[in-house]
């Protein structure tokens, strides 16, 4: 803990705002980052929007007026209804219904839940693999480092979405009768397949700098083992850029998942994400039933924008050169 620069300390603390020990909370309140944050209307707005979306997704089963997965409650007579404020709308379906009579608002809340889950899981997987690889490559050096970085070069030169499509396609043909959990696992794996490279490169760069520092030498001299040295001493010092990157990548992963689902190869159709909802609605756009597409699309853009804004702000706030 001692080795963290204050900004990173604060950032890490901000990450744990849910249950902070009192002293850390006070330290956070006094940090530069907190001051910047509370004085940046854009960052506050972004966090507010993101929190509303996450909250809505998290509590979907309690917030949603209907259960879109319960076929028993669906009534085809209620299909194609416009939002409540339009002439034919009904108050029970605030944002209208789709072709199967599903309530758009409920489908939206559940869809955001799936989108967020896939996005967060794939970023978590990428961070785990990428940070580990980067630490090892930067610290061990030599042939291992050279080989890993060559691999990264190759992977970075291919666009994420293309690789994800391909991995997902292969995964589907390997397990043609994949049940839901497996289908999600394949999707998350496909999204992380190239993304871990970014973390690996970033962490490797910082590790190269850190390992020459005196605290590493000191820790070695007192006989700290390699694994512990990496985990407890080097790791906390290289996490700053990872935090920024991960924030931005959550937005990217959500958009990538939506794209795959829109193309019809993402989440299984029984669990529609925002992308699936947009794809369904796209067929009715020409018929003038805009609400089936527009609301999920707006939610997706809102989430992606707020996360991107937050990432941008965090990058500037943690960059000492811009202070």
């Amino acid at each position: 803990m001692k080795h963290r620069p204050p900004a990173i300390e604060a950032a890490v603390a901000a990450d744990r705002v849910a249950a902070p020990p009192a002293s850390r909370w006070r330290r956070l309140r006094r940090s530069d980052l907190w001051h910047d944050f509370t004085h940046s209307p854009l960052a506050l707005l972004a966090v507010f929007v993101a929190l509303v979306c996450v909250g809505g997704a998290l509590f979907a089963p309690w917030l949603a007026p209907h259960d879109p997965f319960d076929l028993a409650t669906l009534d085809l007579a209620d299909s194609h209804l416009p939002p409540a404020w339009l002439a034919d709308g009904r108050a029970t379906y605030a944002l209208g219904t789709d072709d199967q009579g599903r309530d758009i608002l409920s489908a939206l809340l559940y869809g955001a839940r799936i989108s967020l889950m896939v996005g967060l899981c794939s970023v978590a997987l990428s961070v785990l693999v990428g940070v580990t690889t980067g630490l090892v490559a930067g610290f061990v050096g030599g042939v291992v480092d050279a080989a890993l970085m060559r691999l990264c070069d190759v992977m970075l030169s291919f666009p994420t979405i293309l690789i994800a499509l391909l991995v997902d396609g292969v995964g589907r043909s390997l397990f043609p009768h994949a049940r839901d959990v497996l289908a999600f696992a394949v999707l998350i794996f496909a999204l992380s397949f190239t993304d871990w490279v970014r973390y690996a490169r970033t962490v490797r760069g910082s590790t190269l700098v850190e390992r020459r520092k005196e605290y590493v030498l000191a820790a070695r001299l007192v006989g700290v083992s390699r694994g512990r040295l990496l985990r407890r001493h080097v790791l906390p010092n290289v996490l700053g850029p990872v935090l920024v990157l991960a924030t931005i990548q959550v937005g990217q992963a959500i958009v990538a998942e939506a794209t795959l689902s829109f193309l019809g190869v993402g989440v299984p159709p029984t669990n529609p994400s925002l992308g699936t909802l947009i794809r369904i609605g796209n067929d009715f756009l020409y018929a003038g039933e805009w609400w089936i597409t527009v609301f999920p699309a707006a939610t997706l853009v809102l989430i992606a924008m707020s996360v991107n804004l937050l990432g941008d702000w965090l990058r500037d706030a943690l960059n000492p050169r811009l202070r």
């Binding site: 190759v154 030169s157 760069g205 699309a297 924008m305």
Partner: protein, 369 residues
């Protein structure tokens, strides 16, 4: 796909060539030097070529393993009631009973000749299918790239020169939207506005095409241009925002540099300083990244082509993924890898040609990582 460091960091450029230490190339011997590929460049070129071949081999192995593990070609070819002996004989005839390295060598041999077998879904030669679809994708990508450059560079320069004014800030905010919006949503919005509401442009297909030898072109008819407008714009939006933000960042960097200060001190007019000095030095990274993004355009065309029912390679690929149609997937994978490797190689070599510092004297601390 966003450059995480805003594009200003040299580490995001492709690998640079080692600094040539040839005594006959003096520092500052400019781009018009005929000894562009000096003798010391040769090892660099050879190494990059070897790397390119290696990458292609690795991708080829990936494609080959698709055939190995996804589906059984024999059961695709014979009927339900074929006996085990018949299957074994066919297996022998196809060479599927030989060791994997031998099969891989055969696969590479066929792939070099452009032979990827027959599509499982359409029952036609994969190479013919791809050759039919290639012109549509290439025309779309090139038009989109031209659009992104033609709009992105001026907008970026404008945003950099007027960075404290509200209009430049607004442009930046809009460009953030352009980077955040998913490609398929941009396509849907454009269709909704320009096809459904206004009825100006058609929303699917290539329109009237002209046959030029083996190449079907949509760029020779007015109808073709009307059809390409929306897909090309959709594909260009992300690149446009990226180019703009990159040009702005590089321009701001250049405007702070010593040579611009010096140019101002010499009393040169703003126009000369901005365009003759600052912009010129900005263009190298911009062209590099645009070059690399050309591959990205081909990748994103998968989405655009699906939204606009554009009959290109991307929609062929997505159909193959949904089916799954292994030969088409493998061929597309190899083709895209080839395009990427060639682009990367070309950009690396051009980099050495354009930037004399990379050929001339050694810069301490720079060079290969």
């Amino acid at each position: 796909m966003v450059w995480e460091d805003g594009g200003g960091n040299p580490s995001s450029y492709p690998m640079r060539p080692p600094d040539a230490r040839s005594p006959e190339v003096r520092p500052g011997a400019g781009g018009r030097d005929s000894r562009v590929f000096s003798a010391t460049m040769l090892p660099f070129i050879l190494r990059r070529l070897a790397q390119a071949v290696l990458v292609l081999l690795v991708v080829g192995m990936g494609a080959f393993s698709l055939f190995q593990y996804v589906g059984d070609p024999v059961s695709n070819m014979v009927g339900q009631d074929a006996t085990l002996a018949q299957r074994e004989r066919l297996r022998g005839e196809l060479g599927l009973d030989r060791p994997a390295p031998v099969q891989f060598a055969r696969f590479v041999g066929h792939a070099l000749g452009g032979d990827f077998g027959v599509s499982l879904r359409q029952g036609r030669e994969v190479s013919v299918l791809i050759a039919e679809r290639l012109p549509a994708t290439l025309e779309l990508s090139v038009v989109a790239a031209a659009l992104a450059l033609a709009l992105g560079i001026p907008l970026g320069v404008y945003a950099a020169l007027r960075r404290r004014h509200w209009d430049a800030k607004l442009t930046m905010a809009v460009s953030l939207l352009g980077v955040s919006l998913p490609t398929f949503l941009i396509g849907i919005v454009l269709i909704e506005i320009f096809s459904v509401l206004l009825g100006w442009f058609p929303s699917f297909g290539r329109g009237t095409t002209v046959q030029l030898g083996g190449w079907t072109s949509g760029l020779l008819t007015a109808d073709g241009w009307r059809h390409i407008a929306l897909p090309a714009l959709t594909l260009a939006v992300y690149q446009l925002a990226l180019v703009m933000r990159l040009v702005r960042a590089e321009m701001l960097e250049a405007l702070r540099s010593d040579y611009v200060k010096f140019a101002r001190a010499r009393g040169l007019p703003d126009r000369v300083v901005h365009f003759g000095h600052a912009l010129r030095n900005t263009l190298v990274p911009v062209l590099t990244i645009t070059g690399l993004q050309l591959g990205g355009l081909i990748a994103f065309s998968v989405i655009t082509e699906t939204v606009f029912a554009w009959p290109g390679m991307g929609s062929l690929f997505i159909q193959a993924v949904q089916f799954p149609d292994v030969p088409v997937m493998a061929a597309y994978l190899c083709l895209v890898a080839l395009v990427f490797v060639v682009i990367n190689l070309a950009v690396d070599l051009l980099y050495a040609v354009v930037d004399p510092r990379l050929r001339a004297h050694a810069v301490p601390g720079e060079g290969r990582r």
